[in-house]
Amino acid sequence: MVFALAFLLPLFLKDSYFRHILIMVFMWIVLGVAWNLLAGYTGQVSFGHASFFGVGAYTAGIIFKHLGMSPWYGMVGGGLIAVLFAIPMGLVCFRLRGPYFALAMLALAEVLRLITTNWVGFTNGMVGILIIPTFRSKLPYYYLIAALALVSLLTVMRIAGSKLGYWFLAIREDQDAAESMGVPTTRYKMLSLCISAFFTGVAGSFYLNYMGFIDPSIVFSLPDISIMVILVAIIGGVGTIWGPALGAFIMVVLSEIVRSNIGETHLLVMGVLVVAIIIFLPQGVTGWRLLRRRV
């Protein structure tokens, strides 16, 4: 229903600013859903999902810059390369319990930001990578990212109702208990990470194709990507299917409203709003009693 509406919406909404906002909402749905699968369902919190986002974006940029290939190939390649980065992280960190994985992810994003900044020959450094967007209209981007958001939500829905979902939840609740029920915990954490990294990487490639420009401080940003994705999931409701979708809408729209009306102090106001939501709705918006029955 919601998505049928989403597909019809741009026919009425001709203003390209609003279309841009909606495109950002859908992109954040993909990112929120991907982070939530790993952290909300499998219990492996990541403080550095910008790593996968940036790797996806840079994959698209680099195949364009060095190989002259269309950055659209990055939409698949970026996801796969993000998985290639995810695998060693999982192999090293998932043998340990505790905050190591979250912190290692944070470090990975920073390391990648520094590498892409300084390896100028390969990445253009802070100059960034500029491409000419394929379409002038926002419509094709709108439908593409809406479809991707739909696919990511359907994927999580499918996972939640299957063995995979049950075993992810078991790992989140108690790894030792899960292991004693026969769950290969290390392997399933890895699987969750790879799926999450794939969607995040694809969204990163989309970002370059749509915006036409990336630099290391944008795509490997701690506050604008890594923290934002956590907020999207928390505000919406961690460990729920629709939570991140709702969270993406709220966060994108809220930050636009605050930014365009308040100016200089917008980050401060945004911070206060987020703190207020977390205090009053600790389960996220989908955990709000009035909504719970429907969501």
């Binding site: 109702g161 299957s162 063995k163 049950y166 075993w167 939840l169 078991a170 609740e173 108690d174 030792d176 208990a177 899960a178 292991e179 004693s180 029920m181 026969g182 769950v183 290969p184 915990t185």
Partner: protein, 242 residues
């Protein structure tokens, strides 16, 4: 044929030997009781069988095959050894049914099949009416029952029960006694650690007594209750008459 056999199993934590040169043999279909004072190494034996810890020395055979090296915990569970935890570990934010389904998924990939199996297990342990309750809202007896259900969900050939009667009232204890006999009728071998003497005496075919990591007795319940060494180490004179 012995379903499980421990040969010279030793586990040292630093300088302390939690289990010392333990030999243990359990026949298929048998119910073995394990008793002993706190810290005697009973739970450690379970943790060694399921490879929560590696052995310091010795070996463990399950159905004649060595399982004490090269396998991880979930692989050992996969071979057909189910276990419960003394300090229960329910998946708190899932329902009772979902908890058991998680185990059932070990033997099937189909959700419908896992649900069917899990419901069968819950019927079997007389817990079906609680299936939609969140695990975190269960009381002690409920959590112990869920531990057993979850272990049965993995379809074990050998079931390791760690103090499933502790903290239960007499009526609940009797229910668990009946449950264990029914588990045996299904052809499952059971090793049960317990402090509740009435329970362990009535349920076991044979009792092993542990003290300071070593086995000090291995006999029929009746004879164990008369052994001087066991009385001194664990039971005390009050119980000896029984």
């Amino acid at each position: 044929m012995a379903i499980i056999e421990a040969k010279g199993v030793t586990k040292k934590f630093g300088g302390l030997a939690a289990v010392k040169d333990l030999d243990l043999k359990v026949e298929e279909g048998e119910i073995l009781g394990m008793i002993g004072p706190n810290g005697a190494g009973k739970t450690t034996v379970f943790n060694l069988i399921t490879r929560v810890y590696p052995l310091t020395s010795g070996e463990i055979l399950f159905q004649g095959a060595r399982v004490s090296s090269g396998l991880s915990t979930h692989e050992i569970i996969g071979l057909g050894i189910g276990r419960t935890f003394q300090k229960t570990r329910p998946l708190l934010r899932l329902t009772v049914l979902e908890n058991v389904m998680t185990s059932s998924f070990l033997r099937t990939n189909s959700r419908a099949e896992a649900k069917k199996e899990a419901l069968k297990v819950l019927e079997f342990v007389n817990f079906a009416e609680k299936k939609d309750m969140l695990a975190r809202s269960l009381n002690v007896a409920g959590r112990k029952r869920l531990e057993i259900a979850r272990a049965l969900g993995t379809k074990p050939k050998l079931l390791l029960l760690d103090e499933v009667a502790a903290g239960l009232n007499p009526r609940e204890t009797d229910e668990v006694t009946g449950l264990i006999s029914r588990i045996r009728e299904k052809g499952v071998t059971v090793i049960a650690i317990e402090h509740v003497m009435k329970f362990i005496m009535s349920v076991s075919d044979r009792i092993v007594v542990m003290h300071h990591g070593a086995k000090i007795a291995d006999a029929h319940p009746h004879d164990v209750a008369r052994s001087r060494e066991v009385i001194d180490a664990y039971l005390g004179d009050e119980y000896a008459a029984g």
